[in-house]
């Protein structure tokens, strides 16, 4: 049915990097970025901003762009102290995003008219019937919104981190404070639910 799992996983990781012409060797880019090299910072931004934005827009659409800016500033602030590989950087980036998101929601809780609580995400979208239209030709954000709207919050977050952030199971486990086994169970249940919700739709991407 599919090829060796490691090869598939590697393809998944490369997929993200392949979108970024000129990223080159990640370690070199990171080293240059740490001392304020704008070319290197630009490469990092182009590499990760689209996925970061999709992640934030799926969870907090009204504030996503501002939150993304905050995340990058936080990255700049901590960049000199960061050490790790590309996967580690991605995990760090999305960990910051989750924290910024949580901060935003705490603030929003004091001003409830400004944002939707996370627990209402599924309800918000399900009211529009996530499987209402054919999946064919969906734009990236629309596809992500469909996924999120069909899942409860816990499953939605795990799937977002796996699909949008492109993080491996171990990294998601560390980020969310769960065991790898727990993440696998959650993602498995999410996929079963998605398969059931969208089973009747014709998909010809």
């Amino acid at each position: 049915l599919f090829r060796d799992r490691r090869a598939v996983a590697a393809r998944g990781r490369l997929h993200l990097v392949a979108e970024l012409p000129g990223l080159g060797d990640f370690e070199d880019v990171l080293t240059a970025a740490k001392v304020g090299d704008e070319d290197a910072l630009r490469l990092l931004f182009r590499a990760y901003q689209p996925r970061l934005l999709r992640f934030l827009r799926a969870l907090e659409p009204a504030a996503a762009d501002d939150l993304a800016g905050d995340v990058w500033l936080a990255v700049a602030g901590g960049l000199r102290g960061f050490s790790g590989d590309e996967i580690g950087f991605r995990g760090w980036l999305f960990a910051i995003a989750r924290h910024r998101l949580a901060d935003h929601r705490r603030r929003a809780a004091r001003r409830p008219q400004l944002a939707l609580p996370a627990d209402q995400l599924a309800g918000r979208a399900s009211a529009d019937d996530p499987a209402g239209d054919a999946v064919e030709g969906l734009a990236a954000q629309a596809a992500i919104d469909r996924i999120v709207s069909a899942l409860p919050g816990e499953q939605a977050e795990v799937v977002l981190l796996r699909v949008v952030a492109g993080l491996p199971v171990d990294e998601v486990a560390e980020l969310t404070g769960r065991s790898a086994g727990s993440v696998r169970v959650i993602q498995h249940r999410a996929l079963k639910r998605l398969a059931r919700v969208f089973a009747s739709k014709v998909v010809t991407l």
């Binding site: 001392v35 304020g36 090299d37 762009d65 000199r80 969906l138 998605l194 998909v203």
Partner: protein, 274 residues
């Protein structure tokens, strides 16, 4: 609790799950029940659209502003001539320090702890202990110069980092995280006192080493100095600085001024004229 949550988990499907979520499984290759999900994942991982990169210039500029001395780094790092001149300055400074080893200097400090400095020959990173001096520093002046020096050093590192993307030229200069660290820090402090800019490879290496340790150059050097000042053992409370008192002979560097509690620059200088 949903109906799905009650389903037993088929562990044999975990690999399929990973393939689906990683985007490595195309809809045509997926089982019919998962083809729709595979299509959704593929769509979710589509290449970026132009709208997703909005604000790039502003955010990159803000990031560069947060990172230390980014602006000065760029302008200087792209001028090879300046780098060559600075390199010559550093070589001159190091040479002058070695030539001046005949005097075991003791300089009274102000309200800031003094630093013992041992000049180490930078070339090759092999330590050649020739001199012990005590450097008195003034905090405000040091801070101002420090910023300038760090800017120059990190500037060159930025250029060097770019160079590594296009060539396989090995790094030059001593390894600032190794035995040469003390000598480089000494030279760095000496040059800081004169207000010169240091953007030569040895100081780039120093900046890299400091950055790797998550410290500023000053903090990194403080740590290096502190490590060299650790007492060799209890009961050894004095240090002897041997130098050439006549100024025209060979100085034998046998200094042992690392003991804790030793007064600043109060070693015993013994002439060894040749």
């Amino acid at each position: 609790v949903s109906r799905d949550d009650d389903l037993p988990v088929d562990v044999h499907r975990f690999d399929l799950d990973d393939a689906l979520l990683d985007g490595g499984l195309l809809p045509d290759d997926a089982p019919s029940a998962s083809a729709d999900v595979a299509a959704l994942v593929q769509a979710a991982q589509a290449p970026p659209s132009p709208g997703e990169l909005g604000g790039e210039d502003r955010i990159v500029a803000e990031m560069a502003a947060v990172l230390p001395d980014a602006a000065g780094v760029r302008d200087q790092g792209r001028t090879p001539l300046l780098a060559r001149i600075a390199r010559a300055k550093v070589a001159t400074i190091l040479a002058a320090s070695v030539i001046g080893m005949g005097a075991a200097a003791a300089v009274a400090t102000g309200d800031r702890p003094s630093r013992h400095a041992r000049v180490i020959e930078a070339a090759g990173g092999s330590p050649t202990t020739v001199l012990e001096v005590t450097i008195a520093t003034s905090e405000p002046a040091a801070s101002a110069t420090e910023r300038t020096v760090e800017a120059a050093a990190t500037n060159t590192m930025s250029a060097a980092a770019r160079q590594t993307q296009t060539s396989a030229e090995p790094a030059r200069g001593p390894d600032a995280s190794g035995p040469a660290a003390f000598g480089l820090c000494t030279a760095w402090h000496n040059d800081r006192a004169t207000g010169n800019k240091l953007n030569a490879p040895p100081f780039v290496n120093l900046a890299v080493a400091a950055n790797s340790a998550g410290k500023s150059i000053a903090a990194y050097c403080d740590k290096v100095f502190a490590e060299h000042q650790k007492p060799p053992g209890p009961g050894n409370g004095q240090g002897n600085g041997n130098g050439n008192g006549q100024g025209n002979g060979n100085g034998n560097g046998q200094g042992n001024g690392k003991a804790k509690g030793h007064g600043n620059g109060q070693g015993n200088g013994r002439g060894n004229g040749g």
